[in-house]
């Protein structure tokens, strides 16, 4: 009898542990963005859940801007997203530190991350240098042709 009771308790504990893990898995959200963006650039806030996101409108994104104001949005899913992904696009309009909070309204799971917006990052610097090179090269070409 004792062995039977202990076995039931053990099974119940295992079940509880399994369900607990499952519940933890539901609440698992990850937010994927870069650390730095140039001002004016588009930020893709890519959200991945450990389970399928059937309706992206159950996920809420709050973005805190460097000036203290906040905006809220709801992500969307496209064909290139897997069924546990959704995303939103935000255009950076201030220089400074941004904070992004993502909440799954159904499960209450939350995740937050930050990024920094600057006047120059790698992409804008490359474009800037390329434009200088083209300008100088064409200047040299024109002068040579003129001579």
């Amino acid at each position: 009898m004792k062995i039977k009771t202990i076995s039931i308790i053990c099974i119940l504990m295992l079940l509880l542990l399994y369900l607990g893990n499952f519940a933890f898995a539901i609440s698992n959200l990850t937010v994927d963005i870069n650390d730095k963006y140039t001002i004016g650039e588009s930020v893709i806030v890519k959200i991945t859940s450990s389970e399928e996101i059937k309706d992206p409108s159950n996920v809420k994104i709050t973005i805190e801007k460097p000036n203290g104001s906040t905006i809220e949005s709801i992500p969307r899913q496209e064909k290139w997203n897997s069924n546990n992904e959704c995303f939103d696009i935000y255009t950076v309009d201030y220089i400074g530190n941004y904070k992004i909070n993502v909440t799954n309204i159904l499960t209450g799971a939350e995740e937050s991350t930050t990024f920094n917006s600057l006047m120059f990052t790698r992409g804008s610097t490359i474009v800037y240098i390329l434009s200088f090179i083209i300008l100088i090269a064409s200047l040299v070409f024109w002068k040579a042709k003129k001579a």
Partner: protein
């Protein structure tokens, strides 16, 4: 293209060689306005706190002022076939006209880079939605370089491109309007019911609509000089029909959409509410053609003429130079609200007085006459060491007034600059530097290609 092209471009175009039709010019002007910034102008008026009625009235006042200024300042180009850089010589002096030309070119560079970036931003957002590919810098570079290549083909090709693209843009904009109506419905009545304001926000909006046209006002002769000049009535109608209905449609859409949806950026709007690939394709076409044609018409042409006059550059290199500088000014900063409106106000304070001075000089003081020979080769417009003190002092006074009342910069700058110039020129400069064309008996003669200073340089 060779160096001869840009030099010949500065010579007056004789009436018999003017071959740009009124309809083509009207379409080119319209294509300048079918762009994202026009939508943002309307949306910005609602965001500033006006209701739709107030925003509409402010827009119409601003556009009416723009059309009057465009018609008046385009007269030297229309009647005499001269470009802006030559038109500036009597107002500012042969040497300092180059500086005022650069002042006109600077906002053109900024607008060029800004429009390219805005277009690239739109293309990037659509590539994100469609493919998950995000790199605005690749789009920006490709989009910008394409415009430089197209502009290097010359003014006529650019005007052809903009007039044809205007037709396509009108079709696209109607399709977009239908889609926006289907998504939101046009609840105009509720938008008009808001309290709004007839005070400072209203006049700020009027100023913004004047500022958006003031850059084109300054160099209106650059386009209009190619236009057939057989009918004054058609000339006025070309400006009115090219400018007013297009801006009313574009900015009107912006006003309605922001008042019912709260979304003020057209790109964000398209991305959030595009239901299928066809609407995305239409919106992409709009962005590419709209930004392209606006840059061709309003930004690259004036800047290229200025570099040609200043550095004797061939047209193709002037295009590359304009393109390079358009990137170097860091145009992405202008995508911020603070950057955009500061930029508009500052250039309104500089260009408003220039436009006012040019109009007063040709229409009021010279009564529609120039000494055409002196424009190209004489010393009459040298004044004091190549500087017209009245023009420069009036520009400083007008710009200071504009910067002092920065939110009303283009209005105060234009009025103060124009009045200062009138009094300084009439009661000081004319007495010191007699102007032959002010005599009632003076008859204007045309400058032929062979007897002008520029023509000699070309040969």
């Amino acid at each position: 293209m060779t160096g001869k092209v840009i030099k010949e471009s500065l010579l007056p175009i004789p009436s018999e060689q003017k071959d740009l039709s009124y309809s083509k010019f009207t379409l080119s002007l319209a294509s300048d306005l079918i762009a994202l910034y026009s939508f943002m102008m309307g949306a910005g008026a609602i965001a500033a706190g006006l209701n739709i009625l107030q925003a509409f009235v402010a827009m119409m006042i601003g556009l009416a002022v723009d059309v009057v200024l465009l018609v008046l300042n385009g007269l030297p180009g229309f009647k005499l076939g001269i470009p802006m850089v030559i038109q500036m010589r009597p107002c500012f002096g042969n040497k300092s006209a180059k500086i005022t030309g650069v002042i006109r070119a600077l906002p053109a560079l900024a607008w060029f880079g800004f429009n390219s970036f805005l277009g690239a931003l739109g293309l990037n957002l659509f590539s994100i939605v469609l493919f998950g590919y995000n790199n605005v810098w690749v789009w920006f570079f490709i989009f910008h370089i394409l415009q430089v290549i197209l502009s290097a083909l010359g003014v006529k090709k650019m005007l052809d491109f903009t007039s044809y693209s205007a037709v396509a843009l009108f079709v696209i904009i109607l399709a977009m309007a239908a889609h926006i109506r289907a998504v939101f419905g046009f609840s105009l009545a509720s938008g008009m019911m808001g309290e709004g304001s007839w005070g400072i926000p209203f006049w700020l909006t009027v100023t913004a609509f004047i500022s958006v046209g003031i850059a084109v006002v300054v160099n209106s002769s650059d386009y209009i000089r190619y236009l057939k000049n057989d009918s004054m009535k058609k000339y006025v109608w070309s400006y009115t029909l090219g400018f007013v209905p297009t801006m009313v449609i574009m900015a009107g859409l912006g006003m309605v959409v922001v008042s019912v949806s709260g979304v003020w950026s057209p790109i964000d709007l398209f991305v959030k509410y595009v239901p299928n690939i066809w609407i995305i394709a239409i919106a992409m076409g709009f962005i590419i053609l709209g930004q392209f044609s606006t840059n061709m018409f309003a930004n690259i042409i004036p800047a290229n003429f200025v570099w040609g006059e200043l550095f004797k550059m061939p047209w193709w290199f002037a295009s590359v130079f304009t393109g390079g500088l358009g990137l170097i000014i860091i145009p992405w900063y202008l995508t911020t609200a603070a950057g955009f409106f500061n930029f508009m106000n500052i250039y309104g304070a500089l260009l408003g007085p220039i436009a006012g001075i040019m109009i007063i000089d040709f229409v009021i003081i010279r009564k529609g006459k120039y000494n055409m020979q002196a424009l190209y080769s004489g010393t009459q417009y040298d004044y004091w060491k190549g500087i017209n003190p009245a023009g420069i002092i009036a520009l400083i006074i007008g710009s200071s007034a504009g910067l002092f009342y920065i939110n009303l910069s283009s209005i105060t700058g234009t009025i103060v600059g124009a009045l200062s110039y009138y009094f300084l020129y009439k009661y000081w400069i004319i007495k010191k530097y007699p102007q032959v064309e002010l005599s009632d008996s003076y008859v204007m003669s045309e400058v032929s290609g062979s007897n002008s200073k520029n023509a000699k340089e070309v040969e």
